[in-house]
C-alpha cells in the first residue's frame, strides 16, 4: 500500500502531546454539573426561547396576512402551536427536585451558609458545601446522632475544563449502615486548590485520594501518603483530565503488519533505548 509519507524517515514515535496535533482532543464545551438551580434556569430559558419562537411565528403571520390583504391575495394559513409528541418509551428522565429529605434539611440547618446547594435527583441526596469546610462537614456527618454516616463508600472527582470559577468537582459518597441511607457531598475546587484530606475522619479515603491525585491531579492537604497509586511514580500527566488523549503518550504508532523486515521494530527499540526503556531481551551476563 503506497503512502505519501515514508514511515522510516518520519519520526513516528510521539511522546510529546504538543508535537502530536492529530492527537489533540476536543474539550467539552458544556459544564454538566447536576444541580437544581442550573436545571431550573435551563428549563426557564428553554421555555422562554420556545415562547419567543411562537411569538415570532405569530408576528410573521400577522405581517404576511396584512401584506396578502393589501395585495388582494388569499390569506396565509394561521400557524398552529406545535404540540410535543408523547414519548412512548419506558424512559423518564429523573429531574432534580427540591430537597425534602430530613438529612439534607438537617445539614442545612446546622451548617447554615456553608451549604451551597441541596437537592434530590434519581432518589439520591446531594449536598454541595463550601470547599474549605469539607473536613468539618465530614466529621459532622459521621458523628452527628441524627446523621450517623459511618462509612465512606467512594470518593472521586470530575474535571470540568469549560467551567469558569472551578475546575473540578470532588464527590464523597457516604453510607449509613445503621439507617440504610446514602448521601453525596460535593465540593467545587479550582485548579491548584488543595482540599483538606478526609483520612482523619474516614481512613478509606487514603487510597481513593491517591487515585484522585493520580488520575486528575488534585492534591489533598495533610494527606499521609500523597503518591501515585495506579500509574508509575514518574508518569507525567493525569489520565482522567479531559485534555488527556486516549491515544498518545508513549504509544507506538507503527503498523507492525507492514513491518516484515523488522526495521521499524528495531528503530522503535533504539528509540526506546534513548528514552531509558529497555525493550531488548536481557543478555546473559
Amino acid at each position: 500500500m503506497a503512502t505519501d509519507k515514508d514511515p522510516i524517515q518520519e519520526d513516528r514515535y510521539v511522546y510529546d502531546l504538543k508535537a502530536a496535533p492529530n492527537r489533540q482532543v476536543t474539550l467539552p464545551k458544556t459544564v454538566p454539573l447536576p444541580g437544581l438551580k442550573t436545571y431550573l434556569e435551563e428549563q426557564a430559558a428553554a421555555a422562554a426561547a420556545e415562547e419567543a419562537k411562537w411569538q415570532k411565528a405569530l408576528a410573521d403571520f400577522e405581517t404576511a396576512k396584512a401584506k396578502a390583504e393589501a395585495e388582494g391575495k388569499d390569506a396565509p394559513k394561521k400557524p398552529v402551536r406545535p404540540v410535543p409528541k408523547p414519548d412512548t418509551n419506558d424512559l423518564k428522565f429523573p429531574a432534580p427536585a427540591a430537597a425534602t429529605d430530613p438529612d439534607l434539611l438537617h445539614l442545612q440547618e446546622v451548617l447554615g451558609a456553608k451549604v451551597e446547594e441541596i437537592f434530590q435527583q434519581a432518589g439520591e441526596l446531594t449536598c454541595q458545601v463550601a470547599k474549605e469546610a469539607i473536613l468539618e462537614v465530614l466529621t459532622l456527618c459521621r458523628d452527628d446522632a441524627a446523621l450517623g454516616y459511618e462509612m465512606l463508600a467512594d470518593e472521586t472527582a470530575t474535571h470540568y475544563p469549560a467551567a469558569k470559577d472551578f475546575a473540578f468537582s470532588v464527590v464523597y459518597h457516604l453510607t449509613s449502615i445503621r439507617r440504610s441511607k446514602r448521601l453525596r457531598l460535593r465540593i467545587l475546587v479550582p485548579e491548584g486548590f488543595e482540599p483538606e484530606t478526609a483520612v482523619p475522619v474516614y481512613p478509606t479515603a487514603n487510597w481513593l485520594e491517591r487515585e484522585i491525585w493520580d488520575m486528575l491531579g488534585i492534591r489533598f492537604r495533610n494527606h499521609p501518603d500523597m503518591t501515585r497509586i495506579l500509574c508509575p511514580e514518574d508518569w507525567e500527566a493525569h489520565a482522567l483530565r479531559k485534555e488527556y488523549p486516549t491515544r498518545g503518550l508513549g504509544q507506538r504508532d507503527i503498523d507492525f503488519r507492514q513491518d516484515r523486515s523488522g526495521v521499524l521494530m528495531r528503530m522503535a527499540m533504539e528509540k526506546a533505548g534513548n528514552m531509558g526503556i529497555n525493550l531488548a531481551p536481557p543478555r546473559a551476563e
Partner: protein
C-alpha cells in the same frame, strides 16, 4: 554471626498466590510481618477513560474485563446504573432473570475463590471439586448468552433474549445436586485440622476497623456487621426475595470462609425462588436506539461477590457517552485493609489473608 536486622522483601507481582499481579512490599523480622505495603497498578488499562470515550452501550463490554470471575455482577451494575441515569424502567421478568444469573455468578465466583484459596494453603483436592461445579454454571451462562466468562449478559433496558428452551432443566439439575456438593467441600475443609490451624485466628479484622476502612462484602460480614447491599438498598428483584445475610463475629480467615459457604447456600435459595416465581411478560423495555443523556449523576451500588461494587456516572446533555465514569471496586477498598490484617502475623498467614480477601487485580487496577 547471626544477623537480627529487619529484612525487606517483595512478594509478587509474579507470586502465584497473589492472584494476579499484586505486589506486597513486606518488612520482616524473621517470619513476622512488621510492615506491609501493597503496590498495585500493574494491570491498569484505563477502563474509566475508555468508557468515557465510548457510548453507553459499548461501555458494558469493559465491565466484563474488570472482575473477570464475576462478569455478570459487573454487567448488572453497569446496566442498572445507566438505567438509573436515564430513568428506564425494566420489565419484571428481566429483573428476575438478572437476579438469577447474578446469583449463579456469585456461586461461580465463590467457587473459584474456594478452590484457589484452598490451593494456596495446600489443600489441592478442593480445587478439582469446585471447578467441576463451576463448569456447570459456565455452561448455563453459555446457554444463555453464548459466552462463558466475558458474558455481557444484559442489555440496557432488559435482556437481549428470553431464557433459551431447555435451560430450566439444566438449572434444576444443578440446583438438585449443588447442596450436596457444598457438603462435600465441607467434609474436606471445615473440620480439617490443618485447615483450622491455618485459618482460625489469622488475618483478624474487627468490626470498627472494617467500617473505618470501608471494607464491604463477606469480609465485613465475617467481622460481625450484617451489611448487605441486596438487603439495605435492594436492586434488581432482591426486594421480593426471601434470604438471610450470613454473619460471623470472629473476623478471621475461618469466619470469612464460613460466611462465603453460607452465602452460596443463600444464593441457592434465591435461584430457586427466581426460577419458581418467574413472571411472564416481555424482557426488554422500549428504549430509543440512540440514548442521549441529560445532566444527571448517579452512584449505583450493587452487591458483587467481593463486596459493594459502585458505579458513578455523570451524564452530559445530548451526549452519547458518559461524561465521567468511576468504579468503586470492592477489591480496591478491601485490599487497603490488608496491611492492618497481616501486621504482626507470619508470612504464611499473609497468603491465607490475601486468599480470603478474594482479590482480583483486574478490578483493583481497572
Amino acid at each position: 554471626m547471626f544477623k537480627n536486622e529487619e529484612m525487606e522483601i517483595n512478594m509478587g507481582p509474579q507470586h502465584p498466590s497473589t492472584h494476579g499481579v499484586l505486589r506486597l512490599k513486606l518488612k520482616l523480622d524473621g517470619e513476622v510481618v512488621k510492615h506491609c505495603r501493597p503496590v498495585i497498578g500493574y494491570l491498569h488499562r484505563g477502563v474509566e477513560k475508555i468508557c468515557e470515550n465510548q457510548t453507553f452501550f459499548q461501555g458494558q463490554v469493559w465491565t466484563d474485563r474488570m472482575d473477570y470471575t464475576s462478569a455478570v455482577a459487573n454487567n448488572l451494575g453497569w446496566a442498572e446504573a445507566v438505567e438509573k441515569l436515564f430513568g428506564i424502567s425494566v420489565p419484571r421478568r428481566a429483573k428476575y432473570i438478572r437476579t438469577m444469573l447474578n446469583e449463579f455468578n456469585r456461586v461461580a465466583s465463590h467457587l473459584v475463590w474456594l478452590g484457589t484459596h484452598a490451593m494456596d494453603i495446600g489443600a489441592l483436592t478442593v480445587f478439582l471439586y469446585t471447578f467441576r461445579e463451576r463448569e456447570d454454571i459456565l455452561d448455563i451462562f453459555e446457554a444463555f448468552c453464548g459466552a462463558r466468562l466475558t458474558t455481557t449478559a444484559f442489555r440496557i433496558g432488559g435482556l437481549r433474549e428470553d431464557l433459551p428452551p431447555g435451560i430450566e432443566k439444566q438449572i434444576r439439575a444443578f440446583l438438585a445436586k449443588f447442596l450436596d456438593c457444598l457438603n462435600e467441600y465441607e467434609t474436606l475443609l471445615t473440620e480439617n485440622r490443618i485447615w483450622k490451624k491455618r485459618t482460625i485466628g489469622t488475618g483478624l479484622l474487627n468490626s470498627a476497623d472494617a467500617i473505618a476502612m470501608g471494607v464491604t462484602g463477606p469480609v465485613l460480614r465475617a467481622a460481625g456487621v450484617p451489611f448487605d447491599v441486596r438487603k439495605a438498598f435492594p436492586y434488581a428483584s432482591y426486594a421480593e426475595m426471601d434470604f438471610e445475610v450470613p454473619t460471623r463475629t470472629e473476623g478471621d480467615n475461618y469466619a470469612r470462609y464460613l460466611v462465603r459457604l453460607a452465602e452460596m447456600r443463600q444464593s441457592h435459595r434465591i435461584i430457586q425462588q427466581c426460577l419458581d416465581g418467574l413472571p411472564e411478560g416481555p424482557v426488554m423495555a422500549k428504549i430509543p436506539r440512540i440514548l442521549r443523556s441529560e445532566v444527571n449523576e448517579v452512584y449505583h451500588p450493587t452487591e458483587a461477590p467481593k463486596g459493594e461494587l459502585g458505579y458513578y456516572l455523570v451524564g452530559e446533555k445530548g451526549s452519547l457517552n458518559p461524561y465521567r465514569f468511576h468504579v468503586r471496586g470492592p477489591g480496591f477498598i478491601n485490599l487497603q485493609a490488608l496491611p492492618m490484617m497481616v501486621k504482626g502475623g507470619l508470612v504464611a498467614d499473609c497468603i491465607a489473608t490475601i486468599g480470603t480477601l478474594d482479590v482480583v487485580l483486574g478490578e483493583i487496577d481497572r
